[in-house]
Structures are given as structure tokens and as C-alpha cells.
Amino acid sequence: MPKPVQPGQEADFAAPLYERSGAAAYGVSEEQFAAILSEILRKYLPRNSKTGSERVSQQEVDFCASLRLEELALARACAAGNEQAWKDFVSRYRQKMHGMALHITRDSAHAAELADSLFADLYGVSPLAEVRKSKLVFYTGRGSLEGWLRTVMAQEFVNRYRKQKRTVSLEEQTENGVQFAADPSEPDPTADQRLEAATDEALAELPAEDRFMLASYYLDGRTLAEIARTLGLHESSVSRRLDRLATGLRKRILAGLRGLGMSHAQAAEALETDVRDVQLLNLRKRLTQDSGPKTFPDSRKVPAQDPSDGSND
């Protein structure tokens, strides 16, 4: 239960934080800074509507004290167009942003474009908007300003990449053979519903962090080092945990299948067959697609085409 701050304290709670932030150097008044803090509090710690209390709780004070106040002041002063703040921002982050972009794009031309584009967004340059609106108003000081810049840049890169993927022409896809590839997400009609149910149950029992590891490693192909860095763990810990997870999942799925009425042998067979069939099934699909007679089946010889063989006619 958050301890309420004494009456009258809410007016003063921002004062020490304001002093700590150095916002005065950028022309941000204490009232403006308090308003910024209130806005951040509303976003992350919405007030209990039943009490409707306007008093600032100790939890809220602690939360505000945990923010990156100096960087918050700098960012918001930049957004407000303070010249000194921009000067400081440019000297601190301009060159770093180019380095970040280079690491994200791994291409100097795209890196320059990405960094410049973000810088324009941060400055609030927009050909459509009459009023300058800087992206820095969205920074709330939860993490470092540099980390926020990296994340915003990475988001921008991912968005662009997604757009580029969408705009690849059909012709290019044809050239790349995309239209002939089997859809990896195509539901397998032969999949045993019980196997899916057992797998879903086994996955749901895992903590979010474990599921994140599985998705990162097995879906995204991330390295152990990358996963370790993301979670703040040691690489070997991630490796051990993934090994344990893979083994544990197999056991849980088997147990789940037995719980759904399969014998031990049937459950093991379902799981093992599934594993063995991964390569075989894909290979079979590809062979049937790539071979001429199957692509244009001879109706005289094959009167009833099996829809599961994936042919493209």
C-alpha cells in the first residue's frame, strides 16, 4: 500500500527533482518540470479513480526519483526548442547516432539515412506539420536517453524493413522463386490436435522469460550471446537453460499426451514421428512442387489429385 505523502508535500515533491535535473539551465521552470513529471506519472502510475486523491504518494515520489532526470530535462528542453539544450544534445549524441545506425543497418548509406531521418524527427521537422513537434517529447526517462535513441532507431529500421518487404514486386518474387516456395506457416492438416493441445499446455506452464528464450533461439535464430545480453544473463546460463527447456518440454508434452488418452508408446511415437517428419515432409512437398509432372499433373494418369501434396495447379 503506497504511503501517502503529507498534505502540501505534492507542491514540493518536484522541487528536489527539479534541482537534480539541472532543467533550470535549459530554461525549464519548476512548474513546467512538475507538469512533465505529472504527465509521466499519469502514464505509468495511473491514479486510483475511486479515491481520486490528488496527493502524491511516496510510491510516486520514488518512481519520479528513479527517472533519468537530467536526460529527461535535456530531452524535454530540446523538444521545447531550447538552443543550449540542442547544443548539448548534438555534442553528446549526434555522432553516436551515426554509430548506432551503422550497427543497426550494417550499411553506411542506409545508416546515414536512418540517423539523419531520426535526427529530423527529433528536431521535429515535418513537411506536413506546421508546428514543429519533436519526437523527444515521448522520452520519459525510464531508461537512458541513449538507450531510448537506440530503440527508436531500431524501431524505425524494423518498420522500414517491413515496408520494404511489403513493397517487393510480384515480379521480383517470381524471380526469387517465392511463389513456388511452400508456406512455412501453412497449417498441417495431418497434425494431431492432441499434440498441439499438449504442446500449448506445456508452453503455457513456462515462465515468460523461458518462452522468450525459446522464441528467440528457435524462431529468430538469435545467438546465445544475444539472448544473454537481452536478459542480462550469462551466455552459459542461457545455454544450460535452453537445454533444460528442450528436455523438459519433451517430457511435459509426452505427459500431456498421456493425459489426453495416449499410451506412452503412442505419445512417444507422435512426438518422434513429428520430429522426424520435419525434413521429410518439406522435402516431399518441394519435390512434388518442383517436378514437372506434378506441377502440371496428367489428369489421365492422376484422376484425383491429393490436395495435401501441395501442387500448384
Binding site: 550497427h103 530503440t151 542480462g232 512426438l271
Partner: protein, 404 residues
Amino acid sequence: MTEVPKTVHDRLQGLQRTAQAHPDADLLAGFAERALSPDERDGILEHLVVCGDCREVVTLALRAGAMSAPIGIETETDPSLAIPAKAKNGWISSPGLRWAALATGVAVAAAVLLLHPKKLNQAMLTSEKQPATTIAQPSEHSQIAASTDGISNKGMADEARSEPGRLPAKPNLGQASARSPQPSLGMLAANNGRKPPLVGKLPTVPGTGAQPDYRAPANGSTGETFAPSAESTLLAQNDAPAIEKAKQVPLAIRGQASTGQPASDTGAGSEAPTLKSTDADQMSARAVAWSITEGTLQWSVDSGHSWQSALHTDRPLLCYAAHDEDVWAGGQAGMLFHSSNGGLTWMQVRPWINSQQLSSDITHLELRDNSRNGKPRLPQEIIVSTSNNESWTSIDGGTTWDRK
């Protein structure tokens, strides 16, 4: 790594969603920096499990920062990067056994001495003469090496203070050289008992033949992680080749400047003073040599026997200049990189004067000593010559520039 059944892969894939609200950059940055509350963190993790785009964003953002990027990032080290390395030879980490190993080494050396006294006496005579030559000779090769051994701790400390994000400089190289001009195998093994900070993968140490005792830094923070050891500093980062920086000033890089000619196969040996004794070979083996081959800056830590790429750039590099930890590399279209920590991290420098950027090819780099009253001043003055016959100089490590 143990494979998961295909059904796990499929069901995980089935969880992935595309059209949904994403956490804002603040929360993702806070997640990456572990600044969120446990509840918030769990919420973000739940989202990341089902959102491949946000997983990509977090990974890219971390790559741009925590991998300490050679370019542009001034080493903001994620504590998780500091590998709490275990000694590969755990048994030798015991002090008693280490001394026993040292004693065995001495005994073997004595036995060899008794068996081949004449040959070793010659080698010892050579190596007794060599250190003085080694330390004095660079002054003949370069205008900047004369005062290298006089680099004071104060100067280095000042540099480290002025650039808090960077790796601190190596303290008093000259003092270390003077104290132990002839590092024997035994001495090197003894040094391994110290605690070199280690970041990155466990490397092997060329030339020593001894397995070092890798220890993790007690604290993962930036300053602690990169605190330089007085004896040796062992750092490897971002898949860069491992370097063990010996106490001696690296011979091959003193005052070296290149105009794009690749080093010969012998690398450092071709430009460094010729060392004949086995001890001297060990010393040169621990020096860092640089070369530019096919537009790529390469470094060698084993006297040029093997070379590894030190810096990946989009355009070819044409020249470099190195002095101790201060390394510059220049290339086409004004591409200029600077490392103040011997090539562990790099920063791209963009020389500007009056809104005009250096954009022509950099054909030659030269480092010039700024010493005043006999005291060296860091950083060195860098002189950049370009293809259009301009000369750009900076005396503050590339922050401000002058053009002639």
C-alpha cells in the same frame, strides 16, 4: 544445443501476432537496461514472446549499444558482456600450484642451460644488450617515439578523465618496461597470477605457451571492467582478435605511419627493430602490428604470422597511423576512424571546418608528437593528407580541425 520437437516450433510460430499495439520505446529501452519493475518486465516479456518485431528491435538496439561498437559508440559496456570467465585450467589457479609450475619452469630452464651452455650463453648475451636497443631504437624510426617511454600516469589519467566513456589508458608503459626488460617465460607465468580484466571471448595468448588465469572482474561496471592492470590487460571484444597487451611498448606500432602499402609477411618484424634472442622474440610476439591489405585494416599480435581484420568499413581504407594505443585509419571519401585503445573500439571521425566536411580520399596519416618541455602531450596531433592536396590537422583527437 538440444533440438525441440517440431510441434514446439510450430506452436511458438502460431503465437506470433503482427497487428497489435507495441510497447513504446521507453519501455523497451527500460527493459533492455533492466530499469523496469518486475511486473513491467514480465509484461514486456509476454509481449516479446508473441512479437517478433519487438524482439528484433530489442536485439538491434542492444547490438548498437552493448556490443560496444567499434564505431561511434564510446564503450558503454553492458555488465552482461563481461564474461565471468573461469580459469580453463582451474587446477593451476591455486597459488601453490602456480608457484610449483614456476619452480618447474626454472628447473627445466636450468637443466637446458646445463645441457646447452654455449648456445644459451650467446642468447643471453644478445638479450642483455637488446632491451636497451629496443627501448631506444624507436626514436630513430619516428619523430613521435622519442618520448614514448616517458608517458606519465598523470597524462594517461587525464585522458581517461576527460573521456569517461572510453577505455582507460594503459598506465606508465615506460616504467613497466624499465622494470622488466626481459620477460622470461617464468615471469610471464607469474604475471598470469594477476587478474587481467576480461571482456568477450576467452582468447589464447600467443607466444607465452602458458595458459593464463582468466578471472572475471569483481564488478561488472564499466570502470571496473576496463580498469587497466599494471602488468597486462587482456581484452577481446566484438569478436575482435584477442590481444594481450604486454608491459612493453608495442614495438611495431611506435610512430608507424603508412600510406597504404601492405605490410610484408613478417609484419611487425619488418619495421620493428630486429630482435634475435628468444626473449626478444617473445617481446615482439606480444606487440601489435598493423597493416592495410586490400583496403582492410588488419592487426597481428604474433609478429605478423597471422593477421586478422581489425575494422570493418564499407569503403576501402587507404592508410593508417599508430602510436601506442592511438590508432587512426583513413580511406576513401573522407572516411576516418580513430581508436584510442589500441583498436579495441573505434569511432568514426568526421572532420568539419566551417560547415565543410572532409570528403576527398585520405591518402596519408601522420601522428606528430605534441610534447612540450620534454613532456609528451596526449592526444597526438593527427595530420590527414588528402587526394586534393589538403592537409587537415587536429590536436585534440579529432574534435576540432584545422585545414591548410
